[in-house]
């Protein structure tokens, strides 16, 4: 599914990540790594948020060449989302839904499952960190992309929302979507079946047996 070829991410002269060759198959995968190991940078590069050299491809879509097609197939949810204070959840959801061609039924069901309906019209400046996280998860799940990248999806969420999120991931995974989840917390096997575990270490990515 995901293929890295001579991938390199640098910040000025500092090399943050370097992956010469790596493939990740479809499924639900857990991305581990210590603080500062480069997990978020990796996810941001995969999401097309940060520039990099080399190549990343998703199925046959090249991230550097088929930029629109690639982005249609990759969604991203930030670890600590921040949005302009004056925008409401509805403003953001409607905009993202339009660009990702999401149906109103999906917007409604996601909003209901993650509890965003309760604060749909309030401006983001009045949200708690948990509310911001719920909104970012709705935005990250909208549409029908083949890959969803979730950076620390569990932080600041209450337990009932965490269960709802597990259910949503299972539901979308059964429909053929893949997930790459970065987290410091364990995913309970009974609630979320993890297919493979990867670790970002020494500026590269390894599969953990």
């Amino acid at each position: 599914m995901i293929n890295f070829v001579e991938f390199k991410k640098k910040y000025g002269a500092f090399t943050a990540l370097q992956i010469s060759q790596q493939s990740i198959p479809p499924g639900i995968h857990w991305l581990k790594g210590q603080n500062g190991s480069g997990k978020t940078t990796l996810l941001k590069c995969l999401a097309g948020l940060l520039p990099f050299s080399g190549n990343i491809s998703l199925y046959e879509l090249n991230a550097q060449q088929q930029r629109i097609g690639y982005r249609e197939q990759v969604n991203y949810g930030e670890a600590e989302p921040l949005y302009p204070e004056f925008l409401s959840a509805r403003d953001l959801i409607q905009f993202v839904a339009k660009t990702r061609r999401a149906q109103q039924s999906q917007i409604d069901s996601l909003g209901k499952a993650l509890g965003v309906q309760q604060f749909l019209y309030q401006p983001c400046g009045s949200y708690s960190s948990g509310m911001l996280k719920k909104l970012s998860l709705v935005l990250a799940l909208l549409g029908s992309s083949k890959l969803v990248l979730l950076d620390e999806p569990l932080i600041t969420l209450d337990t009932s929302t965490v269960d709802q999120l597990y259910a949503l991931i299972r539901h979308y995974a059964s429909a053929g979507r893949s997930f790459l989840l970065s987290s410091h917390q364990e995913f309970p096997a009974g609630k979320l079946p993890i297919n493979r575990i990867y670790e970002v270490r020494n500026k590269t990515i390894y599969e953990v047996e």
């Binding site: 910040y11 000025g12 999401a47 097309g48 948020l49 940060l50 520039p51 930029r67 629109i68 097609g69 982005r71 249609e72 990759v74 969604n75 991203y76 930030e78 989302p81 921040l82 949005y83 302009p84 204070e85 004056f86 925008l87 409401s88 509805r90 403003d91 409607q94 905009f95 993202v96 660009t99 990702r100 019209y121 309030q122 401006p123 400046g125 009045s126 935005l139």
Partner: protein, 371 residues
């Protein structure tokens, strides 16, 4: 700077230097007006007129007051901004120390008004205009007290005043805000003083030039130079737009939106910000320089802002170098206009440069590098 205490050094870097960096376009125009248009003797005459007339003094103090208000609002917003929470640790300092620290920050941010009003006060003492002395001194006292109080209050009470009005909720229920309005709303909500000052400067330049056309005969170049100055006075707003697009809306880069759509959104956003200038150009200049000439200057003004905005995609480090480039660009434009390069050619070149910068650099721009 290294000899200063650590708390003061950090605040000066975070709030003082940053204030000047963010308002560089405004200072360009201010310095251009102060050192380029007005001669030293005219400054002295202006200050003497200020000292002798309560009306003129009032106007000058209101203008500098707005500048100081901009600095105070800037500090308040930084204290609320994510990543700046550590500044609230100043509450652990003794109160007197806090006052001294914030006074230094205020002094750095409001250096220009302090010097200017200080000169007015000294002139007033020389001419024994005691009401002007008192007014100037009270002005400085109020500004500094307000600034210090506001900063200390914000550090003790962060997040106050964030209640959602019924009007906002009703508006959000009634409509989904279109994306091209987002930055305009951000300006009105988060940077009203910056917006006001930029518009005062930009519209003021246009209105002064309109008066010149009414009383004398000039060719189109005076209007083109004024449009250039008006465009560059928006530099700071364009930097805010860049920050808004690439930091506040970082997730946009993940969305499947074509470069053409993104460029069109930028164009529409910039055009909406310039609506007041369009009205002045048509209303004030149409009858004097001709409707076609006045009309051509509308897209020309948009094109200047598009170049400034998209030039930010060039990752020039250190930042000072970038501002040098910007200054030279202004001078080059000025010379081109003086040598009668047709505005249409400038307009087409500007749009071409803006589009090329966007196309080449958008996906290669590193949004997470310090700016």
């Amino acid at each position: 700077m290294n000899k200063l205490p650590i708390d003061l050094r950090l605040l000066i870097r975070t709030l003082g230097v940053r204030f000047y960096q963010e308002n560089i376009g405004f200072f360009f125009v201010l310095l251009g007006f102060g050192l380029g248009i007005l001669r030293p003797t005219e400054h002295i005459y202006l200050i003497q007129a200020t000292v002798g007339s309560a009306y003129v003094l009032g106007i000058v103090l209101i203008a500098w007051g707005l500048f100081c208000l901009k600095a105070i609002v800037f500090t308040s917003q930084q204290l609320e901004a994510p990543g700046y929470e550590w500044i609230r640790e100043t509450t652990l300092l003794p109160l007197l120390r806090q006052i001294v620290v914030w006074m230094w920050v205020m002094l750095l941010q409001c250096l220009l008004p302090t010097i200017y009003v200080g000169i007015i006060v000294f002139q007033a003492i020389y001419y024994q205009q005691w009401p002007s002395v008192a007014l100037g001194a009270v002005f400085l006292l109020i500004v500094y007290t307000l600034g210090i109080w506001r900063a200390i209050h914000k550090t003790y009470h962060p997040g106050t005043g964030r209640t959602t009005s019924m009007f906002t909720l009703r508006l959000n229920r009634w409509m989904v805000k279109p994306v091209y309005l987002w930055f305009g709303i951000a300006l009105l909500k988060q940077y009203p003083v910056s917006l006001l000052l930029t518009k005062l400067l930009s519209l003021g330049l246009l209105l002064i030039t309109a008066q010149l056309y009414m009383h004398d005969t000039y060719d189109y170049r005076l209007l083109t130079v004024t449009v250039l100055a008006s465009g560059f006075s928006h530099t700071m707003l364009m930097y805010r737009y860049h920050h808004f697009q690439h930091i506040s809306l970082l997730f946009f880069r993940n969305l499947p939106i074509s470069l053409t759509q993104r460029f069109s959104t930028n164009l529409l956003t910039v055009a909406l910000i310039l609506l007041p200038e369009f009205a002045v150009l048509l209303r004030q200049f149409g009858p004097e320089v001709g409707w076609v000439t006045a009309g051509w200057h509308i897209p020309l003004l948009i094109s200047f802002l598009m170049v400034i905005y998209h030039s930010r995609l060039l990752q020039v480090i250190p930042e000072e170098k970038f501002f040098q480039w910007l200054f030279y660009t202004f001078v080059i434009y000025f010379l081109l206009i003086m040598f009668s390069i047709p505005p249409l050619l400038l307009l087409l070149t500007n749009f071409f440069v803006a589009a090329a910068l966007f196309r080449i650099h958008y996906y290669h721009h590193e949004p997470s590098l310090p700016e």
